[in-house]
């Protein structure tokens, strides 16, 4: 097999921090190559260099044995490299055919002509997607198909998939890998980034493990086992203490007072008559696939979103019906929602750590003219910086300069300083390094032990099983299953989530 892409001693730095360091990597013709590693290991960065999103800081990239340099994704596309992102880059308001031919239209276009061409193209690939359907109406798997069809249309021969299966249901996953096999059969080379080691083991020809920007090992899949990959990924045996069989060892906490209840709550198409209860002194895990409406349910409870005005159901806080119009009302009643996307609605990124945390406390007062000072902010934040172990050069460092784990701790501290009694964690460990995951889990446990009602929304089954005392499973906007942790298994939860 010939080598189509090769990195030699490749390094990519962001502001002096290497994200990829001295990597030698080769992709062979017609192989499926899995890239695995923790968050921040440099997988995405390496592939983004190949896709023309970033230039290399030093080192060389060769294509077909010749040095190659892509100044833009368009140039990479021209050379046959296509990257399919986790969030697809399709234009939702256009139909499938328009998306496939995007950037390749003739001067005059007839929608019907494009639709027919797209239809032929999709049929040749054996994809079952309606070319006239609006992209916004498609599910995640179909969007991926469109993305792949577009890449094939542009004569791509190297495909990069960034976490392709994260948003797919099990059937869709099978479909996806059948697709990958077909592409491979046509001689394409495929790189896929994945967190799911089983997928890498069962579908890849070769596996490369990255850690802290360095390539640790590349080998044929046959020479790997789950354990050896994990060991290469973390460089230490950490997975067991993190996601071990803790769930089966401990007894669940007994439920305290029923503090929050959603009764037949509905909101548009996202939440359909959801009913759930949250009890004090325990962790309620809320599992569901993407699009199950988990986040929306809890955002309604926290006043961030509003439920339907008519037939919107009822929310009871300590037994008393409430309707929050703005989050502030929920915050004053002791409900804290800790966002799943700290970049979008969690952090004040140009402010310092102390100021970020202190804002949580600041908003609890009402007199707009009361005097505040940086000293007061730092004093108030100090205790939380210490107890949550936020590591930084100083407490006035801007939060953009922090690692994902530390940023998450700042967001958590900003809510905890308000001393809430109901705390909703939405994907608390997304984009967080392994060390910080353990610390954040400890924080969550400690809160429940102290008597708070904690809700943890997570898409990662081991996390749900490890943390929760009670597990709720959401599907299509409602809660479909409730179980205590000692009767729950991964299979049971997954079965409820997809069927």
């Amino acid at each position: 097999m010939t080598t189509v892409v090769e990195f030699r001693n490749a390094t990519k730095e962001f502001r002096g921090n290497p994200a990829v360091r001295n990597v030698d990597f080769a992709l062979k013709q017609g192989e499926v190559h899995a890239l695995v590693g923790e968050n921040g290991a440099g997988k995405s960065t390496l592939t983004k260099v190949l896709a023309g999103l970033y230039p290399l800081t030093s080192g060389q990239m060769l294509m077909d044995g010749r040095p190659a340099y892509f100044a833009s994704p368009a140039e990479a596309m021209e050379a046959g490299v296509a990257m399919v992102f986790q969030e697809t880059n399709l234009i939702p308001s256009m139909n499938v055919a328009q998306n496939i031919f995007l950037g390749d239209e003739s001067f005059f276009n007839r929608l019907r002509g494009i639709n027919i061409k797209a239809q032929q193209h999709l049929q040749r690939l054996n994809f079952h997607v309606e070319p006239t359907a609006l992209v916004s109406s498609l599910g995640a798997a179909k969007k991926q198909m469109v993305e792949i069809a577009r890449a094939v249309h542009h004569n791509a021969r190297i495909f990069i998939f960034d976490e392709p299966t994260a948003t797919l249901t099990p059937e869709e996953k099978e479909h996806f890998f059948a697709l990958v096999d077909r592409l491979k059969g046509e001689g394409a080379s495929i790189i896929f980034i994945s967190h799911a080691l089983e997928e890498a083991l069962s579908h890849a020809d070769r596996i490369s493990v990255l850690r802290d920007g360095e390539l640790i090992v590349t080998d044929d899949t046959a020479n790997f086992t789950r354990e050896t990959i994990v060991q290469a990924m973390v460089g230490r045996q950490l997975t067991d203490e993190l996601y071990g069989n803790a769930a089966t060892l401990r007894t669940p906490r007994a439920p305290g007072e029923k503090v929050l209840a959603l009764e037949n709550v509905s909101m548009g198409k996202a939440v359909r008559s959801a009913t759930l209860s949250v009890f004090a002194g325990q962790v309620t895990g809320l599992f569901g696939l993407v699009g199950a409406g988990r986040t929306e349910m809890m955002k309604i409870a926290a006043g961030v979103l509003k439920r339907d005005f008519f037939h919107g159901g009822r929310i009871r806080l300590h037994g008393e019906p409430v309707r929050f119009r703005v989050p502030r009302q929920a915050v004053t009643r002791g409900i804290a929602y800790i966002t799943e996307d700290r970049k979008v609605d969690g952090l004040f990124d140009t402010m310092g750590i102390a100021q970020n945390i202190f804002l949580g406390k600041l908003v609890q007062g009402s007199n707009p003219l009361s005097v505040v000072s940086m000293t007061e902010a730092r004093e108030n934040a100090a205790q939380w910086i210490k107890s949550l172990n936020v590591r930084s050069i100083s407490d006035t460092s801007r939060v953009v300069e922090l690692s994902g784990g530390n940023q998450q701790k700042v967001v958590i501290a900003k809510s905890l300083i308000q001393e809430p009694s109901i705390i909703i964690f939405d994907e608390p460990t997304r984009g967080v390094d392994v060390g910080a995951i353990a610390e954040i889990h400890q924080i969550i446990e400690a809160l429940a032990d102290a008597g708070a009602a904690v809700v943890v929304i997570s898409s990662y089954l081991p996390e749900v099983l490890n943390l929760s005392d009670r597990i709720l499973v959401a599907r299509q906007g409602r809660i479909v299953e409730e179980m205590t942790v000692d009767e729950a298994t991964e299979e049971k939860i997954m079965y409820a989530a997809v069927h």
Binding site: R15, A41, S44, V304, F348, L359, G360, P368, V400
Partner: protein
């Protein structure tokens, strides 16, 4: 030890001056000042400098009001409309029999109502601030011209010495206009940097959705911001009327609102909110003041003046985006 440290310690400070927008504007202002002083004999005279500072103070006061809204990720292009209508109406009322004091209070209330109404549009109607204030400005001006006053030029009602003192008197040789600007700078600096209101404004400008979820009372805060800017506009209008003995409604059709934005942007208050301090407004005011005054003395045509202002504004925005580039890493961090 200290001698070896002296150079590295100084180097970043000087280069920092060239790198920040503030630094660049400060240097440009200085260069412009020196150039005009050397080239134009009439520029560097006590009389002219005083005119410069006084005329620019009103711009500065208006820019302070604008700055609060801009830091909170809004924009208020209705300030001039609010200013001319509320002041003109107060004068009309004073002529029609009310005492001047009562009329001025009514004018202030009108300005506040206008500000709150705009705030309601933005906060509850969720109309983008630029459209809300653009439309509201026309509505306010239209209402004023239709129902409150007919003449474009409204003179200060006669027989009120104290009112003209307000814009023309001096304290220790400094015109009251300038003193007011200074005092207002201190007040608003305190408001922004040392009060709950100010910190919440920065939080909202920085990340409105995060601020909302954290529990910032976003809607009342938006109302308050526009009310403050309307009130500031009214105050600026009074000073303007007092020093010129009249207020001219035609200001609404002038480029004044763009001059205010020029001051705010040039000084370094980013239009995307969450950045900037009162000192940026002061800096912008001084630079724009020198520029406008110099061009007036040079007898440059009004159209050319506007062209120059436009070019400077564009340069300021371009330099801002070059000096503070939107880094690919800050816009999409998450996963490396």
């Amino acid at each position: 030890m200290s001698t070896t440290n002296a150079n590295p310690a100084n180097a970043p400070r000087v280069s920092g001056l060239f790198k920040s927008q503030e630094g660049i504007v400060l240097i440009l202002a200085f260069v412009a000042f020196v150039a005009f002083s050397l080239l134009l004999p009439s520029f560097f005279s006590a009389g002219n400098l005083l005119t410069l500072v006084r005329s620019v103070s009103i711009l500065g006061i208006l820019a302070l009001g604008m700055a609060i809204v801009v830091i909170g990720r809004g924009i208020d292009v209705s300030m001039i409309a609010t200013m001319v209508v509320s002041v003109s109406w107060a004068f009309v009322l004073a002529r029609s029999g009310y005492s001047l004091e009562v009329s001025l209070v009514i004018g202030a209330l009108f300005a506040l109502c206008a500000g709150v109404a705009i705030g309601i549009l933005v906060a509850f109607g969720e109309v983008p601030p630029i459209f809300a204030t653009l439309a509201a400005g026309s509505v306010i001006y239209g209402l004023g011209r239709t129902f409150f006053f007919q003449l474009e030029m409204q003179n200060v009602p006669p027989g009120h010495e104290w009112f003209s003192l307000f814009g023309q008197a001096r304290i220790l040789g400094i015109p009251i206009t300038v003193v007011t600007f200074g005092v207002l700078c201190i007040l608003i600096h305190f408001l922004l940097s040392r009060t709950r209101f100010g910190w919440q404004v920065y939080a909202m400008g920085n990340n409105p959705e995060a601020a909302r979820i954290t529990g910032v009372p976003s809607r009342p805060m938006i109302l308050a911001q526009y009310a403050v800017s309307a009130f500031v506009a009214y105050g600026a209008g009074l000073i303007l009327a007092s020093s010129a003995s009249a207020i001219n409604a035609r200001l609404f059709n002038s480029t004044m609102i763009y001059d205010i934005l020029l001051v705010v942007v040039l000084g370094g208050i980013g239009l995307n909110g969450g950045h900037g301090k009162v000192r940026n407004v002061v800096l912008g005011t001084i630079f724009v003041g020198i520029l406008l005054n110099g061009m007036t003395i040079l007898n440059i045509d009004y159209t050319i003046q506007n062209l120059v202002k436009g070019v400077v504004l564009l340069l300021a925005i371009v330099i801002d985006s070059l000096v503070n580039p939107r880094d690919e890493q800050t816009s999409q961090q998450g996963d490396l």
